[in-house]
C-alpha cells in the first residue's frame, strides 16, 4: 500500500524530468530541423529557377545561331595569329597600300600578371592567420546558400596580341586602311597610329624614289581573345536570373562591321622535302 501511494508522485516526477531533459531538447531539435528544411526548400526553389533559366537561355542561343557565330568570329576563344595577318594583308590590298612589315607581341591577361603578386599576398595572409587566431583568415564561414552570385570578369581573363603594322601609301589610302580595319569582323583596338613623311635617309640608294605624296604609316593594333568561360560549381552569374539575351549589342555590331574577311581555309600539299617548293 505504501508503494502504491508513492507511485503517482514518483511517476509525476519522472514525467516532469522526461519533459525537461528529453522532450524539450528533442522539440528544440525538431523545430531547428523544420527551419533548416524551410531554408533548404527556398534554396531548392532558387536553384530550380536558375537551372530552368539556363535551359531557356540555351534555347535562346539555339534560335540565334547566326548572332552567336558573329560574336564568336568577332571575339574568338583562341589566339588567331593567322587571321590577324590575313585580315591586315587583305584590307591593305583592298586599300591599295603596301604592307611592308608585321610584328606581333603577346599581352598576358590581368589574371596572369597578378598571379605573382597574389602568391606573395597569400603568404602574408597565412602568416597573419597563424599569429592571430581570430583573424578573418582563421574564422569559419557561416552556412552559405546553395548558390553564390558571382560577377564574371571577362576583362581580367582577356588575352591579346599587339600587332604592329608598317605600311606605305597615300594619305587617303592609309586612312581607308585603318578605317576598314576598325570596321572589320574582328575585335580590335588602335593603340598607336603614326603617319609621317618618309625621311630620305630611311631609303637605300637601290630603292626607287618614292612619290612625294607617299606616306609611311605605323599602327599598333590590339587584337583580343577570350578563352572559354567555365563556371565553378555552386556559383551563378546575373544573366542566369533572366530568360532572354539582349541582342541589341549584336545588332549594333552588325551595323558597324563593313569589312568582312572570310576565315582562311588551306589545303596542304604534302611533299618529301619541305625546303623545296
Amino acid at each position: 500500500m505504501n508503494a502504491k501511494m508513492l507511485l503517482f508522485p514518483l511517476s509525476l516526477i519522472i514525467a516532469i524530468a522526461v519533459g525537461i531533459f528529453w522532450i524539450q531538447p528533442a522539440l528544440t531539435e525538431v523545430l531547428d530541423k523544420r527551419a533548416t528544411i524551410d531554408a533548404a526548400n527556398q534554396n531548392l526553389q532558387q536553384v530550380q529557377t536558375i537551372a530552368a533559366n539556363v535551359a531557356v537561355l540555351s534555347r535562346n542561343l539555339d534560335d540565334n545561331v547566326d548572332r552567336e557565330q558573329l560574336v564568336a568570329t568577332y571575339f574568338p576563344k583562341m589566339q588567331d595569329d593567322e587571321r590577324m595577318i590575313d585580315v591586315s594583308n587583305f584590307l591593305a590590298s583592298e586599300s591599295g597600300i603596301l604592307l611592308s612589315s608585321v610584328k606581333m607581341e603577346q599581352i598576358k591577361s590581368e589574371l596572369v600578371q597578378s598571379a605573382a603578386t597574389r602568391q606573395s599576398a597569400q603568404e602574408e595572409i597565412r602568416e597573419v592567420g597563424e599569429v592571430s587566431p581570430t583573424s578573418a583568415a582563421a574564422t569559419a564561414i557561416a552556412l552559405s546558400p546553395a548558390l553564390t552570385l558571382v560577377q564574371s570578369s571577362p576583362e581580367t581573363r582577356m588575352r591579346a596580341e599587339d600587332v604592329t603594322l608598317s605600311v606605305l601609301g597615300r594619305y587617303e589610302q592609309i586612312k581607308m586602311f585603318f578605317e576598314k580595319l576598325y570596321r572589320s569582323n574582328r575585335l580590335n583596338q588602335f593603340r598607336m597610329i603614326s603617319i609621317q613623311v618618309p625621311s630620305a635617309t630611311s631609303q637605300t640608294p637601290d630603292e626607287p624614289t618614292l612619290s612625294p605624296d607617299i606616306l609611311q604609316g605605323t599602327f599598333t593594333v590590339r587584337f583580343s581573345f577570350l578563352p572559354l568561360t567555365s563556371l565553378a560549381e555552386g556559383t551563378y552569374v546575373p544573366i542566369f536570373e533572366k530568360t532572354a539575351f539582349n541582342f541589341q549589342t549584336v545588332d549594333e555590331l552588325q551595323g558597324m562591321i563593313t569589312s568582312t574577311v572570310a576565315p582562311l581555309d588551306v589545303t596542304p600539299s604534302p611533299r618529301p622535302n619541305p625546303f623545296i617548293q
Binding site: 500500500m1 502504491k4 507511485l7 503517482f8 511517476s11 509525476l12 519522472i14 514525467a15 522526461v18 522532450i23 528533442a26 522539440l27 531539435e29 525538431v30 533548416t36 528544411i37 533548404a40 531548392l44 536553384v47 537551372a51 539556363v54 535551359a55 540555351s58 552567336e68 560574336v71 564568336a72 571575339f75 548558390l147 564574371s152 571577362p154 576583362e155 582577356m158 586612312k175 585603318f178 576598325y182 570596321r183 575585335l187 583596338q189 593603340r191 598607336m192 597610329i193 603614326s194 603617319i195 609621317q196 613623311v197 599602327f219 583580343s224 577570350l226 568561360t229 567555365s230 563556371l231 565553378a232 560549381e233 552569374v237 544573366i239 542566369f240 539575351f245 549589342t249 549584336v250 558597324m256
Partner: protein, 171 residues
Amino acid sequence: MSNINLSQSPESSLKASGGILDKSLGISIGLLILAFGAYFGLLFYGKTLDSNLASINANIETEKKKIASDQANRVVDFQDRLDVIGKSLKSNMPPSDNLAKIEASMLPETRLSEYSYDMEKQAIQTTVIAESFKNIAEQIVAFKKVFSNVSVGDTSRSEDGKLKVDMTLSL
C-alpha cells in the same frame, strides 16, 4: 440506543482507499506512457525530417550540376563576350576621328610632316611645318578650338628654310 454500533468496519475503509489508489495507478501509468510516447514520437518525427532534408539536398545537388554544365558555360561565355563587345563599341572610337579634327582645323599656310596618336597617353604628337611663326601661332589657335590643350615643343628650321614645330594635342 446502547446497541447502536457507531464505529465503521475496517473492510469498507480499506475498499475506499483501495479504489483511489487503483485510480492513481492508472493515472501514473498513463502519465508515463504520455511522457515517453511524446519523446519517442518526437524522435521518430525528427528522423522523418532528416530524410526529408537529405532528399531536398540531393535535389539541390542535381540542379546545381545542371548549372555547372556545358549548357551553362555556353550561356555565360556568350554573355561575357557580349559585355566586352558592348563596352568596346561604346569606348573604342574610330581612329579617323582624330584625323578628322586635324583636317578640319588645318590652315592653308601649314601642313603636317608627322602625326602620332597614343591611346594610353590620350594625346597626339604632331610636327607642323609653316612659313612663319605667325602661321604657327594661328595654327595653335585653330587646334585649340578642337583639342583640350595644345603645348608647343621644339622648333627648328628644315633644309628648305621652313619652320618645323612639335606640338602635343590633348584629347
